[in-house]
Amino acid sequence: MSVPDILAADPAPLPGAAPPGSAAPGDATTARRPWLRTLTHSRSLATGLVLLAIVLLVAIIVPLLDPGGATRLQAQDSLAGPGAGRLLGADQLGRDLLTRLAEGYRISLAVSLGSVALALLIGCPLGLLAATGSPRLGGLIMRVLDVLMAFPALLLAIVVVALFGPGTLVLLLAIGIVYTPIIARVMRAAALETSRQSFVEAARARGASYWRLVLRHITPNSLGPVIVQATILMAVSILLEAALSFIGLGVQPPTPSLGLMLSAGRDFMASSPWVVADPAVAILLVVLGFTLVGDGMQEWLDPKKRAIAR
């Protein structure tokens, strides 16, 4: 999702949007607008997008204000409380927590976006192939993915990290591998359901090729659940990244990460709660944002429900 898209989520009335009720059914000129209007109608989608927009703005702008601030040590500010100079306080080494949070957001968002994109890239074609290919091929693909799924997510990620050594890229790869079977299963289930609908049979009877059937008819009508699942997985991958970094298998210091900050700050929790509270709230905000967007997305993606919201 690009920045302008998220910014467009502002629930304020949009300039040029027709007043509700003026959209005549079947009128081609107003038929193009309802997606915008749904954003203002679906509260969870709008709230989630606003949250993510704030997170993204913080991640983009704050590090620009103080380049290098995330790793600059200032002993005199050690465990400084939130105040005028340091909006969110400083950690035990005197590093500005707001700047570190923003840097951590960058890494967390990159890891979650990257891992989910990787899972989509591998999982969607696998799921489609399993649903539309020969039953034997489909069975083979699904059994292999079942084996992957049998491992608990965290354990599987730890195995990947143990194989390749800790690091941000490995983290992305590990989470992506954990997610691939989840995406593939959702894709397959949705594609199977869509293939049974009569418009797919109609297209086949009209001479559509396999690729046309899959790309024009099955995929666009099966992506809804996959996108919702992907959005929810983004939230989970923020948590997974935090968990892996917390136990030292993810992002390596001094690079800031939300999980790492939680881990390092837990010794000072009693005396300086902000050291832990800041990253914790930061995780909460971004996870909540992704979850709300995932919930609202289903409605926004379905042209039928879009019409109802109108």
Partner: protein
């Protein structure tokens, strides 16, 4: 009738069996399961420009027949020829090429249109598939087709859910016509629509056929609907054609008790006329190897001979073919002598 014209589409001894899954107990005792015969050696032909209706109750095999003609389901045995060419088991590429001449209209206009395609894209798709003309020419053709099927231009960029059932079925018809096919298989094209809309769609189909002289296989369970649009009618029952002939002959002189029962189920237009549908109940299951008439379990005319030998599809003086021992003996008088009306209430 079909003998006078070179036939466009010919179905010969077409048969479709569905295997029945054996229960565990049956597997253990070694009992063999007969497959379910959905279409039983059906033969018929369609001449260029004519409308052949296939009518029958649910489970009579009419839709299975249509699906086999469309290549959506392989027949167990028998052949299908199109324009003299055997199309029974075409490879995928050949089957796709054939769809230029053989198109389809589906029953349910709600689920047979892709909800994520705009109306113009749906209608254009067959042109895209067959790479006919440039993009501009295809768009022009879409406009032409929408005009022909009385779809107002403002729906061009709408999605299917924004249209009513009747309008959607017009989209289905426009799509089927896009590539100028020679035959359209219409599987229950109006049964999902309101009666008032049904009439409009039937009128449209008749009008379209007058303009384009496309031949049509019109599958329906409703003889009343078929009467408006067909040249000939094939009545199917339990997988077999039991009567086949010109529509007027079948309507005025039905040569099979099943046809008679179907006709009695059409409510008379005049409400003061008596409406006494003949109740014949559900199909009586018969072994595939049974030698007799498959309809005898529900037939009020059945005699001993019906259980002993299968009736053949034999020509009758009125011009149709029918499969019945009893009416064969008295093709002109059985209808008048039949006491079915009194049985009707049972």
């Amino acid at each position: 009738m079909s003998d006078q014209h070179p036939e466009l589409l010919r179905v010969e001894a077409l048969r479709k069996e569905f295997p029945r899954h054996a229960s565990l107990a049956a597997k253990l005792t070694g009992a063999t399961h007969e497959p379910l015969v959905a279409v039983r050696d059906v033969s018929l032909g369609v001449a260029p420009g004519e409308t052949l209706a296939i009518v029958g109750e649910s489970g009579s095999g009419k839709s299975t027949l249509g699906r086999m003609i469309l290549g959506l389901m392989p027949p167990t045995s028998g052949t299908i020829t199109f324009d003299g060419r055997d199309i029974t088991a075409l490879p995928p590429a050949g089957r796709r090429a054939l769809t230029r001449d053989l198109q389809v209209i589906f029953q349910d206009p709600y689920s047979s249109l892709n909800p994520r395609q705009r109306i113009e894209d749906i209608i254009r798709e067959p042109l895209d598939i067959h790479r006919i003309g440039t993009l501009d020419q295809r768009r022009e053709r879409v406009r032409e087709l929408m005009d022909q099927t009385a779809l107002p231009d403002r729906y061009r960029r709408c999605y299917p859910h924004e249209l009513s059932g009747g309008l959607r079925q017009r989209v289905g018809i426009a799509t089927a016509l896009a590539v100028h096919p020679k035959v359209i298989v219409a599987d229950e094209p109006v049964s999902a629509l309101d009666v008032s809309v049904q009439a409009q769609i039937l009128d449209l189909l008749a009008e379209v056929q007058r303009q384009t002289s496309v031949a049509m296989v019109f599958i329906s369970h409703d003889l009343g609907v078929v009467q408006q649009i067909s040249d000939r009618v094939a009545v199917m029952c339990q997988g077999e054609i039991i009567e086949l002939g010109p529509i007027e002959d079948v309507y005025t002189h039905p040569q099979h008790p099943y046809t008679r029962a179907l006709l009695s189920a059409i409510p008379p237009a005049d409400p003061t006329q008596p409406y006494q549908p003949i109740a014949i109940g559900d199909p009586v299951p018969l072994s595939d190897a049974d030698p007799g008439c498959r309809f005898r379990g529900r037939c009020w005319l059945a005699e001993e001979v019906c259980a002993q030998q299968p009736p053949a599809l034999s020509p009758r003086p009125s011009g149709d073919l029918a499969r019945c021992h009893i009416t064969e003996r008295a093709p002109d008088t059985w209808f008048e002598a039949d006491q079915a009306i009194t049985i009707g209430g049972r």
